[in-house]
């Protein structure tokens, strides 16, 4: 019966336990076909052969065949993946792909070796969910970590899965006169024992001893064959992952010996090794940031201080650096947040609510974040009117007032009124309201203006350049925020003449009713001619490759900022074909 179904029919043989017969049948079939013209047939034949070989292995030898057959049918027929490998590939509803591999590792390592660079996508991520995740992760629970450490041999209940095979395997120790109980493997495992709850950092003596033991282990690896190396590698990865963070000082040597760095960030990286990779990079970063010349050293020191930060905190650390540091470690090394003081982080973050509300998308601007979250409870209509009046005057300049705006752009007027900000006691917070209003108008003006023509388009782009330059002069983060949100943060000083141009332009747009919510929001791309690239290189002093990466959004914020400003400037003074398309991407 089964001989008529898959895979036997395709191979043209009866069900058999003889692997040779299967392979011969496969060979005969494949010689009869032209692989290049029958790709599908070849794929089917392959899967038939593989399935048949597997079946053959589980089949009883000839003679007992009959008794066992029903079972086999039952076992094997419902295995769809061998029948139709194609079906698996189709993911009609998914946005892009299913969950990334090893979803139990949300902190999966980025491909950046070493430490992270400030990344565009990280300047505004809400902190709480990650924090919670994190606590669960770093706590050295044996059950949780044994699952992390060893995919092949999950050990229920946190039992130590490696001890037995390892002692068996370590025959060399006896050969050189060591007792097997004293093998460096056993000793190292004892030092890093997961069953003992003592996962405190090692003291200097312990660390030195552990390093010696590890060196001995690695020495035996060096001399052994590939299978043995594989065993030790799996064992060691599991051991170190289980014992994190106690094992931290050992990671560097172990990673170097097995070249784990090659595996980090790969699609099929083994979970324990991927985990160690992420930890090791965090560990490296932690050591680097403690050095005085590190960019984030001050921010780190500030956040590590216990207790709330006072109003003078800005004297001790630069706000942009603190935000950059927090965003960076939350994205790349979430476990490091534990080393910082939670209270102090909170006090820094509460003063910077404008950052946390921003959703930043590389190359694509979403207007949504500008929608006001202003709390209007308890504030009277007077306070709101006051805020709106101030906002309109600030954004469009006098003599424009709220009435004028309502006439020309009622929707925008309502929006600005909605986004008025209030102090806790119900009064209008004029500064905050004006800032929000300006953000909204700047965002709209830019998104609308880049699709306008002629003078309007020119003004939009020149204003963008002026704002970018102002932001660049402030800080890299400010420039980054400007690039992704069309409005620089409040720390940026915008020159008065630029503000003047802005007011006139925005008023002109509003009087024509153009400051609407843009109906299309697509990213765009354009190719940049060599002559402009050359100008960017000259202006930024970056290498050609660095400029290329910056233009693709793949390099540091500093480079991207410099390249964007330079390219915008060069393109504005340039008259070649595709000018508008290039400007629209900037």
């Amino acid at each position: 019966m089964s001989s008529r179904g898959f895979p036997w029919a395709l191979l043209g043989i009866a069900a058999t336990s003889d692997a040779r017969a299967v392979r011969s049948a496969y060979a005969a079939r494949i010689k009869a076909m032209d692989l290049d013209s029958d790709v599908e047939g070849y794929a089917q034949l392959r899967s038939a052969r593989d399935a048949a070989l597997r079946l053959a292995r589980t089949m009883p030898p000839p003679g007992t065949e009959q008794a066992a057959e029903p079972d086999l049918e039952h076992d094997w027929q419902p295995v769809p993946e061998t029948v139709a490998p194609q079906a698996q590939q189709d993911l009609p509803e998914s946005v892009a792909t299913p969950e990334p591999l090893a979803p139990q590792w949300p902190h999966g390592a980025p491909t950046l070796a070493g430490e992270w660079q400030a990344d565009p996508a990280l300047s505004a991520r809400p902190a709480e969910p990650q924090g919670d995740e994190l606590l669960g992760r770093v706590s050295p629970e044996p059950a949780a970590s044994s699952q992390t450490a060893n995919r092949e041999a999950p050990a229920p209940g946190g039992a130590y899965p490696f001890a037995v095979p390892l002692l068996d395997g370590f025959e060399n120790a006896a050969a050189v006169g060591q007792k097997s109980e004293q093998s460096p493997f056993t000793l190292l495992a004892t030092m890093l024992d997961v069953d003992a709850p003592d996962l405190s950092p090692m003291d200097d003596d312990e660390e030195a001893r552990a390093r010696t033991l590890l060196a001995e282990v690695l020495e035996t690896v060096h001399m052994s064959d590939i299978s043995r190396q594989g065993e030790v590698e799996t064992w060691l990865a599991g051991l170190l992952a289980n014992a994190w963070p106690r094992s931290a000082p050992l990671l560097e040597d172990a990673a170097a010996a097995f070249e784990w760095e090659r595996e980090w960030g790969k699609i099929d990286a083994r979970p324990a090794i991927e985990y160690l990779g992420a930890r090791l990079r965090g560990y490296r970063f932690e050591r680097k940031v403690q050095q005085k010349d590190h960019r984030y050293h001050k921010a780190w020191a500030e956040l590590a201080r216990p207790g709330k930060a006072g109003p003078l905190r800005h004297l001790r650390a630069n706000g942009a650096d603190v935000r950059g540091l927090l965003a960076g470690i939350r994205k790349h090394f979430p476990e490091l947040e534990e080393r910082l003081d939670a209270q102090r982080i909170t006090s820094w973050e509460s003063g910077n609510s404008w950052v946390t509300g921003t959703i930043v998308l590389a190359g694509l601007i979403i207007l949504g974040f500008l929608v006001s979250l202003g709390d209007s409870r308890g504030s009277g209509p007077d306070a709101r009117a006051q805020a709106l009046a101030a906002t309109v005057a600030d954004v469009f300049g006098l003599p424009h007032d709220a009435e004028w705006l309502r006439q020309h752009q009622p929707e925008l007027a309502a929006k600005l009124a909605d986004s008025a900000q209030f102090t806790p006691d119900g009064k209008a917070d004029l500064t905050a309201s004006m800032k929000r209003g300006l953000d909204i108008v700047r965002g709209r003006a830019y998104l609308v203006g880049r699709h306008l023509d002629g003078e309007d388009f020119e003004t939009t782009m020149r204003l963008r350049l002026a704002l970018l330059k102002a932001a660049q002069a402030d800080s890299i983060l400010a420039c980054h925020i400007m690039m992704t949100s069309a409005s620089p943060p409040p720390t940026t000083l915008v020159p008065l003449e630029v503000r003047g141009t802005e007011r006139a332009f925005y008023a002109s747009l509003a009087s024509r009713g153009l400051l609407k919510v843009p109906d299309k929001l697509e990213g765009s791309s354009a190719s940049v001619p060599g002559v402009l690239v050359a100008e960017v290189i000259a202006a930024t002093k970056l290498s050609k490759q660095e400029v290329g990466l910056a233009m693709q959004g793949k390099s540091s914020d500093a480079h991207r900022c410099a390249a964007t400003v330079a390219l915008l400037e060069a393109t504005l003074d340039w008259k070649g074909e595709g000018r508008q398309a290039i400007l629209q991407t900037l």
């Binding site: 005969a28 790709v39 998914s94 491909t111 996508a121 064959d225």
Partner: protein
């Protein structure tokens, strides 16, 4: 006529399938291996192979070697003031090999099977194919080097073989393939490799190690870059070769009238090579893991590639596998022989009727996607595999993707090859933008089909069900598609190069060798060689065949003597 070519980093070879067997074709100098070196003088005179290598010492600015390492990149080499792409230089070597076949058989070869490292990416493969076209050869198939070697090894007795591992460490690339044979089917189970690791790297390590010792006063710093490179490279190569048979060797070079030399011991070399040796392990582990075969199950470890002759490499292999490797195939010939067997297969030769070969795609191919993460953010630049690595080829796979933006009008597909989870760590092969009808996010889907053929070349089709349109992707990469006209133009430019007529090739090569010897020596010996060169040049001028033959024997004899007694 269909020929098989091993286009190597250091050496190339050509073989033909004739009368039921594979046969190597000697070059004009009677050598079976032609060094992959090209030298071009200002007047367009060109040398290929050993004479080009000899000219390296005297005219480094005219000479290029190891250009295979640059193939598939934008880099060019400047010879006698003119820019040449790596594929141009490869084409010159391929052309020379084709002429060797023509000289032997009297028939001009028109088609070829060319070998490439298994781990060559799509760009490198396309560039290699272009090189063949530039040389006037229609490339019927690109075949992976370890696969070719496996064919040569496996077909020795045509018997069945349990899985064996081909360990192919060439001049510039490293490949590992696990292969088995059954009933005439040669099946590659898995391949892995490192396309930036080879014998050249061992030379570089040796040169870097020996440089401070041989030149403590920094004399080399005053030598022009190209020349310094050439000097160090040759000294390293000679020293490395010597270390294969002795426990210590001289690292020696001559700058003008000064002779520098230092002793390097085997142990020192081994220590210096340690980081390279360590890189040999990973591809082996990956290949074995991908086909789920234990190292102990392997029936053999077959060594291919000149660099596997190094004792330091052999030692490492013996240690890795816990056994001695099989060196029954000629490490420099196996690949070319295998290529000619493949040529016989492509030509459906009757003697090979019972043989079939199946290969795999050694790396993962896929596209760039974005994903919403659990915090509501958008993660861009992620890699979504379509063809997993070590899938048997030819293969065709489909995956579906959908839009992420409302009213999105087109989808951009970045096509990548590699194993990294983020595309920035992979090789970008190209890009296609497909217009789609604007709809709310997620409502438009596109089916992406990747087809990977037996030569390892990729084709991409995108089908949008909503519009019913199919977009066939010619990979958008300027380098990748010079029109037929461009190829013709380039071919015409290369055709202007002058090569020595076959009967004079020996003389030209001898002259280059003598000039190199002149550079290598100092003092009286140098004067003597100079004298011989003048004599030989005088004999050539007479155009009297007898006198030329006498002068050639004389010069060759003396150079031979010098070489054997030379400290180099």
């Amino acid at each position: 006529m269909l020929i098989g070519i091993d286009l190597g980093t250091t050496n190339s070879a050509v073989a033909i399938w004739q009368d039921g067997e594979a046969r190597l074709v000697p070059n004009a100098l009677g050598e079976l291996l032609t060094p992959s070196a090209v030298s071009i003088a200002k007047d367009g005179q060109a040398w290929v192979g050993t004479p080009a290598l000899d000219r390296m010492a005297v005219h480094p600015q005219d000479t290029a070697t190891s250009f295979k390492r640059m193939i598939g990149t934008q880099r060019t080499a400047c010879l006698a003031g003119k820019e040449y792409k790596p594929e141009d230089l490869s084409a010159i070597v391929l052309g020379a090999l084709a002429r060797d076949v023509e000289a032997l058989t009297g028939e001009k070869p028109t088609e070829a099977v060319i070998t490439v490292p298994a781990y060559f990416n799509d760009r490198q493969r396309k560039a290699t194919r272009r090189a063949g076209e530039l040389a006037g050869l229609s490339v019927r198939r690109l075949i992976n080097e370890p696969t070719a070697a496996a064919l040569a090894f496996g077909l020795k007795d045509k018997g069945d073989r349990e899985p064996f591992l081909v360990f192919d460490l060439g001049g510039g690339t490293f490949d590992v393939s696990v292969v088995e044979m059954f009933d005439g089917i040669v099946e590659v189970r898995a391949s892995a490799g490192d396309n930036r690791l080879g014998g050249d790297d061992f030379d570089e390590v040796l040169a870097a190690f020996a440089k401070p010792r041989v030149d403590p006063e920094g004399l080399l710093a005053s030598v022009p870059d190209e020349r310094r490179e050439a000097l160090l490279k040759r000294a390293a190569e000679t020293c490395r070769r010597a270390l294969s048979s002795a426990s210590e060797a001289k690292f020696a070079l001559t700058i003008g009238e000064t002779r520098l030399s230092a002793i390097v011991t085997e142990a020192e070399f081994e220590t210096a090579c340690e980081p390279l040796i360590r890189r040999l392990r990973d591809p082996v582990v990956r290949a074995l893991r991908d086909c789920a075969i234990e190292a102990a199950e392997l029936s053999d470890v077959v060594l291919v590639g000149g660099a596997t002759r190094m004792p330091v490499v052999r030692k490492a292999i013996t240690r890795l596998f816990g056994r001695f490797p099989n060196s029954s195939v000629h490490p420099d010939h196996a690949v070319a022989l295998g290529a000619s067997i493949q040529a016989g297969l492509v030509g459906r030769d009757a003697a090979l009727e019972e043989i079939r070969i199946t290969d795999v795609c050694p790396f993962t191919l896929g596209i760039e996607v974005a994903e919403n993460d659990r915090y509501g953010g958008l993660q861009r630049g992620l890699f979504s595999p379509i063809i997993e690595r070590n899938t048997p080829v030819p293969v065709s796979r489909v995956s579906s993707y959908s839009t992420m933006g409302d009213g999105q009008k087109q989808i951009e597909f970045g096509i990548y090859q590699g194993e990294a989870r983020e595309v920035s760590g992979n090789v970008k092969l190209g890009q296609i933008a497909v217009p789609v009808p604007p709809r709310p996010a997620g409502e438009v889907s596109a089916e992406v089909r990747f087809s990977y053929d037996s030569s390892g070349l990729l084709e991409v089709d995108v089908f949008v069900p909503l519009s019913g349109k199919n977009h066939n992707l010619i990979i958008v990469d300027e380098e990748d598609r010079p029109g037929t006209r461009d190829i013709e133009k380039r071919r015409a430019a290369l055709a202007k190069l002058k090569f020595h007529p076959r009967e004079e090739a020996g003389n030209a090569a001898l002259m280059a060798r003598a000039e190199r010897a002149y550079e290598d020596h100092i003092g009286e010996m140098r004067q003597m060689i100079g004298h011989w060169i003048t004599q030989f040049a005088g004999a050539l001028d007479t155009q009297d065949p007898r006198r030329i033959a006498d002068a050639r024997d004389f010069l060759a004899g003396h150079l031979g003597e010098i070489d054997t007694s030379s400290p180099l």
